[in-house]
Amino acid sequence: MYGIEAIAKYNGWAISAVGVSIVFTGLVLLSLSISRIHKLLDLWDNRNNIQLFKKKVVEAPKQELPPFTTKEKASARQFHLLINTMDDAFSLQRLLHLATISGLERPHSSLEHLLKARIIEPDHQGHYLFNREAFDRFVS
């Protein structure tokens, strides 16, 4: 059997039509789902920003540095004296070295304290600057 007759006999038209439809449906569904993947991932990544899922976060009180103790104030003044012997933009490691050889008490943690109080600030070039305003606020 040949020609249209053979196609009709073996249900060729229906097989082709349904076959093409299934391939199309499969790929259209896949195309739709993969086009949503990145959006779903974004949604998942930002789930904390969605009002519905937002957890009530108790805002932690901003940590203000407590006022300097007399001992800390004295240490800060000694550091200030050392800084005065250096350039405006000074080397932090040199300052620590000077503080250590000058016999300052607990030079490491004192220096850290000054950094936290922003009395000593980075210039973002690898050196540090003395912040007079912060010094006056905490020490004077």
Binding site: M1, Y2, G3, I4, A6, I7, Y10, G12, W13, I15, S16, A17, V18, G19, V20, I22, V23, F24, T25, G26, L27, V28, L29, L30, S31, L32, S33, I34, S35, I37, H38, L41
Partner: protein, 375 residues
Amino acid sequence: METLFLDFFHNTGFFLCDYRNIIMILVGMVFIYLGIAKDYEPLLLVPIGFGMLMGNIPVFKGLGLGIYETNSVLHYLYMGVTQGVYPPLIFLGIGAMTDFSTLLARPVLMLLGAAAQAGIFITFLGALALGFTPHEAASIGIIGGADGPTAIFLTAKLAPTLIGPIAVAAYSYMALVPVIQPPIMRLLTTRKERLIRMEEPREVSKREKMLFPIVAFLLCCFLAPAALPLLGMLCFGNLLKEAVVTERLAVAARTSIIDSVTILLGVTVGASTQGDVFLTTKSVGIFFLGALSFCVATACGLLFAKFMNLFLKEKINPLLGAAGVSAVPDSARVVQVVGQREDPTNFLLMHAMAPNISGVIGSAIAAGVLWSFMS
């Protein structure tokens, strides 16, 4: 002594030789030539070509030498083809070497891969009209999917006697993609259309790439469960690649496993083309319909891209439609070459990979659908 000599002579290839064996040996040599000298799919054409030489050495029946003798070594190796073992393993390797990010970046291009599969069903109708049985017609139609492993897989299930001609036709046409497709592409598109530039695809995250094989597998296999062996292995291979932690397995799949299976598949498919089995009027019909299938698939992809442009604000270059036939990555390369002939600064390769890869998925679904309809 004279009798001994005569007996020996009667068992030599020179005596047993048939003109059909000579023809197939010459075809095998052409395959080897095309693979080595012209660089047309050498990894496939060279093993198939040499397999043709092996399969067409005339042998004395009963010695357990020929591929169709149940006790021969070649027969055991050929079981990987007839039992449908090799194609899923090749898909595993393809999955482990394919980057689906272009597809993820522009999923709409997936429709071009679907459109090109229409060629399979149109050829199926053509084969029925030419007097092939429905099982044979389905196996012939799948040549238009331009996917050798898929064609072999379906033919092994539906019409095992046609594996040789169908595999050879599929791989020959895949190798001839750079010759077959460009004239059709130029015929069906205007110069203005070929000059269309595609916008840059968005960047795709690693997590998207990891999720894709799982989503694609579940969705496609729930829809067409018969595509499970091929799509399952393709998606599994891709997950191995994208999961990073399984990199060693992915490397094995895309190198040693796929290479070993390609060698076995190529040689045994080649050896199955024994002159007396291969050179029949059916084979001529298969070659004719296979070529038609390829051309129709290319045309369907191109025309569908033009159809999509009627609705899209950002037009797509219709040449991409030709990459919907899943000969990866050859048809994508052809798109690039044809596009650059009009505008050397227009890079379409990356965009063409999207329909190209979706063509692989589409042809596997089509094979699954045909298999389930026929069984």
